[in-house]
């Protein structure tokens, strides 16, 4: 059990470090943003200096004219209380914006992860199983490599333009059709899901080849393992062997790649949500980046980091439950 504590401590250290980096980026880095904001208020809005300082304090969420260490402590305290400052662009507390946009991004990321991993494992297992049909496998490998070569935003642009805009095959703008009332009704859910088809497809098509290749690699070596031959000798049907022997032993080593995919998906959401106008964190982050809305940027950074660390922890814990070989003493 000791390793769980070690992992948690590691995660907390990483989390604190990441948060501090955000603090450093805004306060300390060249191009001192705080000063820029203050000066902006004083010069462009003719606000007296003291008031400007107060306004910027409200914006970033910690007192800006205090010495470094004090400001840092206030920063952390405010964070833990859920005070992330106030968005310059939208004049709303960052926490509110985050709360409103997080669900949309979560939906995109979770759906894409499920589709990518599921499809990737399926194709990877198939490629390993049919490795004797060399031409088929090589063709699939080529197709996967081509998919891999497309940055997800490029594929998103293509889907947006051709499948959406030109031929109107699938919804391509927004999270649900105008006129649909949000709520727990079938109409709304259906509309949302249909609007998410293209974004999820874009993300998944560019993510799943990596999973397919990894799975193919592990499955190919598992197929050569002795316990597979021994299982055949016992007369076990191929279906049983494929699932309980090959799949089970192939998926476990690549389970730990899930956090990597998660990080990629969270970053990719910035592009995909922008292209398909989904009202999620990614879209708002891209806008905030464009207008230099620092409080909002940092707020989203915080959420993404926390999500990744939690995701990592979750993967580690569940892995030991899933893999009997990793039974911790």
């Amino acid at each position: 059990m000791k390793w769980i504590y070690k992992r948690i401590i590691n995660s907390v250290v990483a989390w604190v470090a990441a948060i501090s980096i955000a603090f450093i980026m805004v306060k300390v880095m060249p191009g001192n943003i705080i000063n820029v904001l203050i000066i902006n208020y004083v010069v462009n809005y003719h606000v007296p200096y003291q008031q400007a300082v107060q306004m910027v304090t409200a914006l970033v969420g910690y007192p800006v004219n205090q010495p470094l260490w004090q400001a840092y402590i206030s920063y952390i305290t405010n964070l833990l209380h859920g005070n992330f400052g106030r968005s310059i662009n939208y004049d709303t507390p960052v926490s509110v914006l985050v709360a409103n946009t997080l669900p949309w991004t979560l939906l995109l990321v979770v759906l894409s992860l499920l589709v990518s991993v599921g499809l990737g494992i399926f194709v990877g297992l198939a490629m390993a199983y049919y490795r004797n049909k060399a031409h088929l496998v090589n063709g699939v490998k080529l197709g996967l490599s081509v998919l891999n070569a497309f940055p997800n935003f490029v594929l998103g642009v293509i889907f947006f333009y051709y499948i959406g805009y030109t031929y109107h095959l699938l919804p391509y703008e927004g999270a649900y059709s105008p006129g649909v009332v949000p709520g727990l009704n079938l109409n709304f859910i259906g509309s949302v899901l249909s609007h998410y088809i293209l974004p999820v497809l874009t993300m998944s098509l560019t993510l799943f080849p990596g999973w397919a290749f990894s799975t193919m690699g592990t499955a190919t070596s598992v197929l050569k393992d002795d316990y597979v031959t021994a299982a055949k000798a016992r007369g076990l049907p191929s279906r049983r062997i494929l699932f309980s022997y090959v799949a089970k032993n192939s998926i476990l080593p690549i389970y730990t790649s899930i956090p990597i995919s998660l990080a990629f998906l969270l970053a990719g959401a910035v592009w995909i949500e922008s292209i398909f106008e989904l009202p999620g964190m990614g879209y708002y982050l891209s806008v905030a980046l464009g207008v230099r809305d620092y409080p909002l940027i940092m707020g989203y950074y915080f959420v993404i980091i926390t999500a990744l660390i939690l995701g990592n922890l979750f993967t580690d814990f569940t892995y030991s439950l899933v893999d009997p070989r990793a039974k911790v003493e």
Binding site: D226, A233, R234, G235, R240, K248, P324, R325, K327
Partner: protein, 333 residues
């Protein structure tokens, strides 16, 4: 009474022939040993019997593997459709004990799952009955069922895994058990134990064994009859007495003499040369490049047939009379 009769077995890996013209039979209740160095085709023959050869390998058309079971009529196992082999032959009639220290058990399944899935694959669905049978078998191999059944393979030692594999092989009351290197990679004490267990089980359950090994001591200790394999062909075949007291093939002589004996003061024999490359086998006798008594003009041109010397002893060598005469001295000792 014959249990198994192999006729002209040929196995190809792709285009390479790795087993050629192998014929032998196994009597009910006997222990047959198949001996040879690594790569001589021993495991290939065993795999061919159960038809678990890898995908790129196949059995030659002319080969016949006649299994008699309880009747007088033999079924050719090589011609049976695969689903029939899967359900009726594998494990029900013929089972196999792989090398336990290897990865022969699924690391992600508990031991009891191995038993249950095997039984289910052959139509046995009653979980309680399966578990009670499994427990009895595990006790027979001197393991604690309660502890072992709920364990994962990773938690068991090599010797324990070997015994689990033996117990597993008996689950469906087979008549013939093939044991592939059952004692290799085990320490000497465990080896002894395993052999004792195997002897007892054989007596209790009326089993027939085929033992595949390169361990001479195991052969001497355990088997009734020996087939010596070289380059996928039978070099010599005989009872344990025939082979050990009067070996007739130069390869057998070299094999036996390469193990130092207590009280022997001469140096053990090292057979010159290296194992054959199946893609480029020499013409004539496959052993002749390494043979100290090869006869030019005969051994390098004509492959020797398996000839009977007496009722139990068969030899495939042109020059075996010289071996009869000189014994281990043919290697200059």
């Amino acid at each position: 009474m014959k249990l198994l009769e192999v006729q002209e077995l040929e196995v190809f890996y792709g285009r390479v022939k790795v087993v050629s013209g192998v014929s032998f039979s196994v009597e009910k209740g006997e222990i047959l040993g198949i001996a040879g160095e690594s790569g001589s085709g021993k495991s290939t023959i065993a795999n061919a019997l159960l038809r678990i050869l890898p995908e790129s390998a196949y059995i030659g058309e002319k080969s016949k593997v006649l299994y008699y079971g309880n009747s007088d009529v033999g079924e050719d196992l090589t011609k049976l459709p695969l689903p029939v082999v899967e359900k009726e032959v594998r494990w029900k009639e013929i089972s196999m004990v792989f090398q336990g220290a290897l990865n022969s058990l699924n690391p992600t399944l508990r031991i009891r799952d191995h038993f249950v899935e095997t039984a289910k694959a052959h139509g046995l669905k009653d979980k309680d009955e399966i578990m009670s049978r499994a427990s009895k078998l595990l006790e027979m191999v001197r393991l604690d069922p309660k502890r072992v059944l709920s364990s994962y393979p990773g938690e068991l030692s090599g010797g324990m895994k070997q015994r689990v594999l033996i117990a597993l092989s008996l689950l469906l009351n087979p008549k013939l058990v093939i044991l592939d290197e059952p004692t290799t990679a085990l320490d000497v004490i465990t080896q002894r134990e395993i052999l004792e267990i195997l002897r007892k089980i054989k007596a209790d359950l009326n089993l027939t064994y085929i033992i595949i090994t390169h361990d001479i001591a195991l052969l001497a200790d355990f088997v009734d009859r020996v087939i010596v394999l070289y380059a996928g062909r039978i070099a010599e075949e005989g009872s344990i007495l025939d082979i050990f007291s009067k070996p007739l093939h130069p390869y057998t002589v070299g094999l036996l003499s390469s193990v130092p004996k207590i009280g022997q003061f001469s140096e053990p024999v090292v057979i010159p040369g290296s194992s054959p490359d199946y893609r480029r086998l020499p013409p004539g006798c496959k052993f002749h490049p390494r043979c100290p008594i090869a006869i030019g003009g005969i051994c390098d041109k004509q492959e020797p047939y398996l000839n009977s010397v007496n009722s139990s002893h068969m030899i495939a060598c042109h020059n075996y009379k010289l071996v009869e005469e000189k014994g281990v001295e043919i290697y200059g000792r």
